[in-house]
Subunit: 342 residues, 2 copies
């Protein structure tokens, strides 16, 4: 079996390059069938691999003097900063030297580069960001979580297809179903674009359609894939963050106001609460895949630790191994033969 080659942007994210380099080192040690091309400022990166002779032959460091920051305008940066770590890593993929790409850098730049530098799958109108979130019953995929704020019904239909393929291949969900996030379960519910998406999604038979998915059932994981436009998806994603913090804070306030008994209870519960917090954490899940582009691309969380980044590399590796991209390409033709043959 050939090694799986992964291009890593060493300079993206709050904890770069340390967390990225440490995560990469851990990944190389844990998965002996991967090769990594690490792009970034060589002088800053090299020291983290001092003495790592065991993985030396599977690591290539590619010097990239420039960095795309959170303040750069994404499209412009991806076009102009050709010497940046992110663009260099993307070109490794585009030009066939690597099969996957991982970055904890600017989401906007990853999206822009996915389209401009790596390229869309023929027939996919809009690639989408699709993180897996912890649900009450089981994890679920949220697609699109912010890549496309203005959507057409056709995009949502494609999101449904890509999302179910990902859940089946990467999470191992059996017969995953894609639900359309809506304000009611009846077919005639929702704004016009969502109504149109309902028609398209219920008319196809390439993937399993759950039907309309009420927002209150999204966090249960009732449907394995929650399909929505990037505006609604981003609101859901960010709101979850905010609400989890708010609920925990309000709970803490209540405990502090509840006298000795409550405080003792809170103290005893501390370890359980820590377990709970880690259940809710993104670290275990790696990053969000960008689906619909011509290679496995993973956007790791900006605040990724070394552990989280290692898991993002594992995820990219698995996307290559299970051929998520090729499967999307093939299934897409069944979804809309005319369109994908454009």
């Amino acid at each position: 079996m050939n090694d799986i080659s992964i291009a890593v942007d060493a300079m993206g994210g709050d904890n770069a390059p340390r967390a990225i380099c440490e995560g990469t080192l851990a990944a190389l040690r844990e998965m002996n069938d991967i090769r990594v091309t690490l792009c970034g400022r060589e002088a800053e990166i090299r020291p983290f691999f001092e003495g790592a002779d065991d993985i030396k032959d599977r690591l290539t460091i590619l010097d990239a003097p420039d960095v795309i920051s959170m303040h750069d305008a994404p499209m412009l940066a991806v076009r102009r900063k050709t010497e940046s770590s992110m663009v260099k890593a993307m070109l490794e993929v585009k030009e066939g030297r690597c099969q996957a790409f991982v970055s904890a850098g600017s989401t906007g730049a990853v999206l822009a580069g996915g389209i401009l530098r790596v390229g869309r799958i023929r027939g996919i109108e809009r690639p989408a960001l699709a993180p897996v979130l912890p649900g009450r019953k089981k994890p679920f995929l949220l697609i699109d979580s912010g890549a496309n704020v203005d959507c057409r019904a056709e995009y949502l239909n494609q999101f449904g297809l890509m999302g179910t393929i990902y859940m089946e291949k990467i999470i191992g969900t059996k017969e995953p179903k894609a639900g359309l996030v809506n304000i009611g379960t009846e077919a005639e519910k929702g704004c016009q674009m969502v109504k149109d998406a309902y028609q398209l999604m219920s008319a196809q038979s390439v993937y399993r359609f759950y039907g309309n998915l009420e927002a209150r059932d999204v966090p249960l994981g009732e449907a394995d894939v929650a399909v929505c436009d990037g505006f609604v998806g981003n609101v859901i994603l960010k709101y979850t963050e905010g609400l989890a913090g708010t609920l925990t804070g309000m709970l803490k306030d209540t405990i502090m106001e509840s006298g000795l008994r409550g405080k003792l209870g809170g103290l005893l519960l501390k370890p359980a609460l820590r377990v709970f917090k880690s259940k809710m954490s993104y670290e275990e899940h790696g990053g969000a895949p960008l689906l619909g582009v011509n290679a496995a691309m993973v956007k790791a969380h900006g605040s990724s630790s070394a552990l989280a980044f290692k898991n993002a590399i594992r995820q990219a590796r698995l996307m290559v191994e299970t051929d998520v991209t090729g499967t999307i390409r093939r299934e897409l033709e069944k979804l809309a033969p005319a369109e994908s043959a454009e």
Copy 2:
């Protein structure tokens, strides 16, 4: 001072007519400056007021043999079911015999009737549902929470105005600010409609504009009013319900799996958790006002208890007393003089 007259739909909601009648009785006893016209099946309603001689002179029972159910198509029902408790209560308002309307019945029918039977304020393009939700720092108003799934930027600007007036008058918030729910804080963020709304909202000076409000800051109560279209608002509202349940459930699971120590902690915390649950409860807040119609209208929660319904009546009473409708009418002229003079 003259009494405040309130038309109540006795037959709406899961617990009708019992909870509605008991709530009405409690309201009449607690607020001696209100009169209630209770619309519904007289034979079913009358027994709940057996022996209530103390409030008899402030209660009128108006027989309405028909009921609008959750299964009725809202527009059609409001047009045709003229003998229903909801339409009869609306006509009390429309024809000037009552100043306010309260129902725990079908949301769609309340909305349809608000427009068809009660009427919009001149210049308001779309009335909006606007519940007050508990936030980390302070409560906040969510407008629109589901009345209008397809919105134009102008509607959102009007929502901002109506929401701040409500928060100032009814909740007593000093100098309330309205934020535009968005996926980032920068002016150029969001889908096209939201970008346009940002321009309108930042250009006016009739109410205080907070700027873009990131979804993660919504539950903090950072802005007193969270403005969005009814699709996004309904997703937020329902998702909150679902996530609160999911988080509580996951916490419970974690406690049960955490051995004796965690279980003891959970047991000791029970009273505190009960306080927490009631903090999150809608009961205390009454119902959601329908803003932008020509009278005080309150949509109580479908599962309203007698207590919740009493609070919804209190809320309607306060809306009349503080003249929310008149204030919206006057301020609206400053917001868009040309438009409101149509």
